[in-house]
Chain length 298, copies 4
């Protein structure tokens, strides 16, 4: 039986660990705040008090933590993943972090005798619960093959996209497209409202043509209702757009729409709306257009 | 048997008329260049030498012409639709034109005793041939109900979105979203190429998550191959973005991404690339990033 | 003695007419609301009840009205300038209007036997009072030479920039640069405030280097104090940026910064701040950055 | 007699050192490539083979090097400024570097017993030769007072703008404004050319009104002539806009125009034009507008 250690049992990592249990894996979970561990144990997994304890006997180690420094912290040092995992174990970081940090982590992990993949996900909490995440994987093809059973237990579209760091690069591109698609839909919605169009009908027909998108399908109705409970918070998307902007700059890639939507997301965070769902960009467009959020809802 | 006159038998109007024939309508077609009429006659329709001849006995009149002035020309004057159609006939303009012009045309048509709808389409040549267009319809609910059999013969998603002009307003929003989605995908593609990611795999996984879109599904592979044969030409999309920009300005709606992508499309046209498919925005992003189109293809 | 008719005695036209009186011209003024005429009469000019009366015996006719339709109205028709002025009189429109309208007005004026110049101004109310306006003149060189004495009485930098319409084209470029320079200064000010820099000192040193500008010299201190009383209203600048955007589009000129600042000015107007001075763009940047206007003032 | 060590005798540092000699200071220079030292010795200064030798007996130490890592390297380590300068010596970094690095350097310098200022300059090579630089100084007021004689020997506008790092913050704002002003002028120039206006005359009249700027005065004529020999290279401005973008992001300041012009500058560098003067942005606008650089020159 394959033992999978999961470090980070938050909004995403928690349901992913539960799906691994359901799929028949022996799951050992660790989380900074221990109450999340209890949920996993209730679901049939095991708990570990430390990272070291969690990873010691694991065949596969998954981390799902907020940001680049968290991954560096949890992998390095005496109590970290790399110092305590068995040689040959497979380390899969599923957090969303900087591609260059992912490359560094992969090098450090290999130097410690592990196999390493970066495998960030798309789809949000709903897909984490359903086990239908999209997973973009960077690393060696053999390691990807070895990780498939674990990844298939939590994801639906699981694709190997290139060498170490490539998963994070694709995730960065994903966040660029998603932020932009939301903002474009927001601009379209305010435009339609201003002209008194039936917006429910309009979104239906837009969704049936070339303007259709997963953002429109999943977020459109909530946007019309001005329901911005997360979901995926603007503050996190702001972090991710910082990754895109920097990575694009370093590679000499020009992203004019990315740069502008990055400013709009930054404005939402600066104004104190970082806790809203990223579809909350509609709030900014509504306000910049001098329109009343409440009137639009009615 | 319902007689449908179709004015404008070009890339879109031609296959739409053919689908009306297939659906059992008596179709009378007129086109400025008469060779297109022959194609319709071969498919089982009838030809008319003038607009007046085409519309005289029609129950439903459809126009599918390039731009606002063309609609005004074909409807007005002694030889036009409004002077020659029977009272009570249903006039459906399916061209993409300015919403304010559509409102004016509707007023003029009603003054002449006709019923009028604006019903622009989305989906391009492929959907026109398949009869799977998305159709966004503005006008009276009764008139929409009366037009359904005709619209259903050429479209799959057929939605009434509001009073006269609303169809064009939704089409304008459609063009805003489509141009933006293409540009975002273009920025993502160049970013992925710059980092040496497997772009085929990347587009597969992006399509499976929140970044998925009809643009990605239909245009993504062609973009990776740098195949920019139209499809929908940038010069036409440039015209449409002019409509969006002006209409947004008049309504006090702020569209920052729309404004920027409008500049990029304008640049493509100014540089002589107006004849490329709108997915050709990728060519501009590639070049602005100092990358070689040919190298990317290999 | 040269007789100059001045149509439009508002914030700009009033002081310009007064300066013409001071320079020794025989000035006949007309204004839609007659109280402005009284001010001119008190200053030594003559009043006229109608446009026709004002222009009948004038050697030079100056118009200073709000927008393109106003110029068309005042020049055309039975009671207009062109029907009532003497053949060979010199007509100088100093309003800010669309370049293509200016070309049309020039053609109509010449057809009526007049000589015509477009001569919009820059510098605002202060420069109108001081007689130190910048004047950008389109038309024939001979006509420009003939108009110099009149133009020199109200302006300091008076330049012939090309054929009919060219004055308006240069004015459009002027408005593009000015809006952009204000917005850039606004972004810089909020950036400096966020880092706790001494902003008075910073503006002094910025003004001494390559970042120096007339906008910084004239508007900088007022911006730091958040004093946004007009001056030149955002609503008017919004109108002018509409002219620039349309004219650039028609000529195939790509203006990415112009397009973005046009959106920001549009937002100010949409939100109800169109009555503020154009330096009020700082209010928007401050708010988008989540900062408190009042705190910055203290 | 005050001894001033100057580390970095390049395009800027060389003429600054020469002006310090002229002003009567005892100047000891050091440069990585020793030929620059010879020029200083010929001008009446002294040379030093190492940083340590240069700073050992200096009352004031000036560094003028390309980027943040260069300042960190030259100040730290066994052979660096801080290990070899006398306690109480005044260290003035006049390079353009990241504000947060400047703060760190100041802390390290003070820990080593020195007094520290950040004092970046604006005005370019011409102002360095003339001794007319604008200098924006961050640090303690006493230290600023002590540094005045040295700063006045190389600059004309010398202003204390706040605590450590503030000089670099103001320089970042300077680079934001300058890049934007150049781009706006470029958009205006292409617009004027497209309409066949007399651009020399237009720039004269624009310069006399609210659109006037130091950029227009110093760069306008060269831009019309398409002369883009540096001057200040786009590659360096790209570096500086990276500083602005990051610093604005960290402080939650929204800079939409800054973000867009940053993309345009990035495009120039990516396309291989990083060696042109920053006024070379005109080349990009010209090309995006489908216009011929050579035709415009004639």
């Amino acid at each position: 039986m394959t033992t999978v250690a999961v470090i980070g049992l938050g909004i995403m990592g928690g349901p992913m660990a539960a799906n691994l249990v359901k799929a028949g894996f022996d799951v050992v979970g660790h989380n900074r705040s221990p109450d999340k561990v209890k949920t996993l144990v209730d679901a049939g997994g095991r708990g570990a008090d430390t990272v070291a304890d969690a990873v010691r006997d694991a065949d596969v180690i998954v981390t799902m933590v907020p940001d680049s420094p968290d991954v560096e912290e949890v992998t390095s040092g005496e109590g970290g993943v790399f110092a305590n995992a068995e040689k040959g174990a497979l380390y899969v970081d599923m957090s969303t972090i900087r591609p260059d940090v992912a490359v560094g982590v992969a090098q450090a992990g290999r130097a410690a005798g592990l196999r390493v993949l970066d495998a960030p996900v798309s789809g949000g909490e709903a897909a984490a619960i359903e086990g239908s995440l999209s997973i973009m994987v960077g690393g060696e093809a053999d390691d990807f093959a070895a990780a498939r059973p674990v990844l298939d237990a939590v994801g639906k579209t699981v694709v190997h996209v290139g060498p170490a760091g490539s998963g994070q690069t694709v995730k960065a591109a994903n966040q660029l497209i998603v932020a932009g698609n939301i903002e474009l839909l927001a601009e379209a919605v305010v435009f339609l409202e201003a002209y008194g169009v039936d917006t429910d009908a309009a979104l239906e027909v837009l969704g049936g043509g070339l303007a259709g998108s997963t953002v429109l399908n999943r977020k459109g109705a909530g946007m019309l209702a001005r329901e911005f409970a997360p979901g995926f918070r603007l503050a996190l998307h702001h972090k991710d757009l910082g990754i895109v902007t920097t990575a694009a700059r370093e590679a000499g890639v020009v992203i004019p729409l990315g740069a502008v939507v990055g400013q709009l997301v930054a404005a939402m965070v600066a104004r104190g709306d970082g806790g809203l769902d990223h579809s909350g960009l509609l709030k900014l467009v509504t306000e910049l257009s001098g329109r009343d959020q409440n009137r639009e809802e009615s």
